[in-house]
Amino acid sequence: MEYEVNIGIEIHAELLTKSKVFCSCPVQFGAPPNTLTCPVCLGLPGALPVLNKKAVEYAILTALALNCKINRNAIFHRKNYFYPDLPKNYQISQYDTPIGIQGYLEIETSNGRKRIRIRRVHLEEDTGKLIHSGGRITGSDMSFVDFNRSGVPLLEIVSEPDISSPEEAKEYLINVRDILIFLGVCDGKMEEGSMRCEANVSIRKKGSDKLGTKTELKNINSFRAVERALQYEIERQVELVSRGKEVIQETRHWDEKNEKTVSMRSKEEAHDYRYFPEPDLVPLEIDDAWIENLRSQIPELPEEKYERYKNLGLTPYEAKLLAHDLELSIFFDRAIKLYNNPRNIANWLLVDVTKELKDRNKAITQTLLTPEIMAELLLLIDEGKISGRIAKDILPELIDKGVSPKKIIEEKNLIQITDTSALLSIIDQVLKENAGVVEEYKRGKEKSFMYLVGQVMKLTKGKANPKLVNELLKKALG
């Protein structure tokens, strides 16, 4: 029996606004507990919410980037449930009139491009954070609540169950994350919880037009976990169904340590959230002028960058790597204006610079390397002033000190020797000192030629123009 998989993904993204969504407390991480609070985000009696316009703009921007229609009259609803981290015991969220609806996102799959439909994009407030003594809720005899996170704007992005494999799910998540990062609305750090994800999974017999019973997966805290949790859950469901058993509709927790999903609660105990329109807020009216103004602020997104880079002559692989890295791509775009060989820049950025950045665990913007320095360096190679070898050798210094490559090579006397007479005298010396090797070469041992080149390079401390050395050496050896 062959099965088909349907996965829908719900993403919660914390927005990078300066203040919270319904009060003026700062949005900031790592502050001492309960220092970023006020009557509103503590749910004190009498406090009232006031909507943060910037949060709405971020939500609209994201909805537009995800090809959504914008609800001109978006209403906030109260989602009622009791939990100690929820100060009002209701969450201000959106119900039947979210900010964005009916969007989509295209992803690359092993079978080509695929469109994943997006059901809704809505704005809500985050909860506080529970801290249990002993670290775990079970067996803990005391819990504490930190309300610093309470009221941080959260964007919820819900896909239709159009995703058919764990790989697609990961690809979808990465694409959404990159869009959020490019828009500047969320830092997309899953491991730190600023982007969180839940997935619902079901399987059905191939060709069936009815969706199977779904389970909801929670506690997926990394891109790696998304793939593994989904893989596990699909296998579990296939195993159940192929033994003639039924999948129960329930919420399952991804146990990262034991690499399996565990039942949390069944739907019978499901909450009735008793949604109703939030009477403390007025309906959010979004007019065309506002939407168009925001649309014009959307920067070039990874998808468009990818196409443009391919047109610049980059391989699809190079184009994709660059297009999905906001900082590298900005660097790249500035560098190609100064130095007109995009492939060469891409190659340097993706290989040598990337390696240096990894060693330092830094983003390119956290170093002193600038597009100007990069362009200067590559020009020096093209002009034959330095070899690629020298360029690679001085790269760490450029990254850490941000100095001009020209200055470095002058100071260190690294300018390539292209003076034929100077090289000829060195070659002469090498041939004399290595008469035996010369003999071997003449008897047909090709490797000996490379040895002689190496000797010339050694004597010139790598500054000799390798091409020229080759030519001159061949001539000299007759």
Partner: protein
């Protein structure tokens, strides 16, 4: 007449003419407190009398006129119990916007007044700390939920007061206590710092001895507040001396509010009211608002629905009373079980029910539709009339305990005031007669933002009648209990 019997504007005039030292008013009110508070129980918290006297400043006339604040309006540093066990130990950590505004004029707060728990009730009997009694007859209720505020003004332990009105909670106690109470247009007075009962209906308003004081106090508290998203950014009402010329204005007498269930003695008062208005040159006609009879059921779906959510925050986690429990859930559940009184629980259950899956459309959404129909009835009628009138309460102040066992009967007695909240309109209650020495209130209703006109009409009536001059026979109190 003692100073505590005068109105704020009379006292202010005496002070400005230097015929009176500012401290004397405060002392007179404190004297009233000492003599009668133990019988009336208008307050849940009274500031130290010396502190109140010391708060009087020579250059700040309003500091000489003590004000009482309903105990669901936050005053920084003072207790705020909402007459509930669940907030018994709660000290307000910030000021409501209305308090900030009063502070700018150095208003002098006498104390926090009793109410039905979380403003849910019409008799102040639902207070966890015991009922307030009506200064006109201490066997009877002062009305509610702002019963403490109305009683304090009637007895003179404060010159004026603030209350809150969700379905009549300012106007009905004003009526029962023979004073003036205004429920302003929804959105004209900030709700920030008012402990929410039903957010879409709640408004803070003044309770005073006469219309002039009411207009004055309203002018201080109204106006846009960026901290309240439902507050309206319009030109605020600014006080100017009232003239009371009502010649030629058209007044509609609401037929549905004079039918079944209205005490015949109240009806007779209304006949006199009509005659007075006609004598003053106004034109009075009967008018029908067909959907108004659905007001009570509509209100008792919408208000509890909002309340069930608004009161969810009282869970023992962050502030207020906390019961014990083995788990967080058990603690929260016990806290609410022990902390809330029966009427509050009844309304939370009602509200939870009408919002539940499967009932939302049948109850909540249907009630919203009726709310719109009721509002549209008013809009239509205001095309033909300047103001509408009705009794404030269909019944006279009743005896303590008389209706406790029958909440439905108590709910139905709010028929005259509830429609006004549903439609978001302003309405004022003023004394319009006495039956067996018990006050009767007249309700005057206007279109949105017509407070200035309401004050004129009310002032015209007030100046032509003696009722606002009458004070409760305080001497009788000591014999009563």
């Amino acid at each position: 007449m003692e100073l505590a019997d005068l109105t704020a504007h009379e006292l202010l005039e005496l002070i400005s003419k230097k015929e009176l030292s500012p401290q004397e008013v405060v002392k007179s009110c404190i004297d009233r407190l000492e003599r009668y508070e133990s019988k009336i129980k208008a307050y849940l918290f009274i500031r130290n009398p010396e502190e109140v006297i010391n708060s009087v400043k020579e250059d700040a006339p309003y500091s000489a006129i003590p004000i009482a604040i309903k105990d669901n309006i936050l005053v920084k540093g003072l207790p705020n119990t909402c007459a509930s066990k669940i907030l018994a130990n709660f000290i307000a950590p910030y000021n409501a916007t209305v308090i900030e505004r009063l502070n700018k004029r150095s208003f002098n707060i006498m104390g926090k007044t009793n109410l039905d728990e979380f403003a849910m009730g019409s008799s102040t009997e639902n207070s966890a700390f015991g009922p307030t009694r009506n200064p006109w007859d201490i066997e009877r209720v002062p009305g509610g939920s702002s019963g403490g505020s109305a009683a304090s003004v009637a007895i003179g332990s404060a010159i004026w007061a603030l209350g809150s009105d969700t379905g009549g909670s300012i106007r009905q106690p004003a009526s029962f206590c023979g004073v003036v109470g205004l429920k302003p247009t929804y959105g004209t007075v900030s709700r920030y710092g008012l402990v929410a009962f039903a957010s879409s209906l709640d408004q803070i308003g003044p309770i005073t001895k006469d219309v002039t004081d009411c207009a004055l106090l309203y002018s201080f508290i109204n106006g846009y507040d960026p901290n309240d998203s439902t507050s309206l950014n319009i030109k605020p009402y600014i006080y100017s001396p009232l003239k009371g010329d009502i010649k030629g204005i058209k007044i509609g007498l609401i037929r549905e509010l004079l039918g079944e269930g209205v005490d015949p003695l109240v009806k007779r008062c209304m006949e006199d009211v009509v005659k007075t208005f006609e004598d003053l040159g106004a034109v009075v006609e009967e008018v029908s608002l067909p959907h108004i009879s659905y007001s009570v059921p509509t209100y008792y779906i919408l208000a509890p629905a909002e309340a069930s959510s608004n009161l969810a925050r009282f869970d023992g986690v962050r502030y207020g009373f906390r019961a014990s429990g083995k788990t967080a859930e058990e603690m929260m559940s016990n806290t609410r079980g022990e902390g809330f009184g029966p009427e509050v629980k009844r309304r939370i259950m009602l509200g939870t029910y009408v919002l539940s899956a499967g009932y939302y459309e049948a109850f909540y959404l249907k009630a919203l539709k009726f709310r719109n129909l009721i509002a549209s009835d008013f809009r239509k009628v205001f095309e033909r009339f300047d103001v509408l009138i009705s009794p404030t309460s269909p019944i006279l102040p009743f005896k303590l305990g008389e209706k406790v066992e029958n909440p439905l009967e108590m709910y139905l007695a709010d028929i005259c005031t509830i429609p006004i909240n549903l439609a978001g309109l302003p309405a004022i209650s003023i004394p319009c007669g006495f039956v067996d020495n018990l006050p009767v209130g007249l309700q005057i209703i206007g279109p949105v933002f017509s407070e200035a006109k309401l004050f004129e009409v009310a002032y015209g009536f007030e100046q032509a009648t003696p009722f606002h001059k009458k004070r409760p026979q305080l001497g009788g109190i000591t014999n009563g209990v």
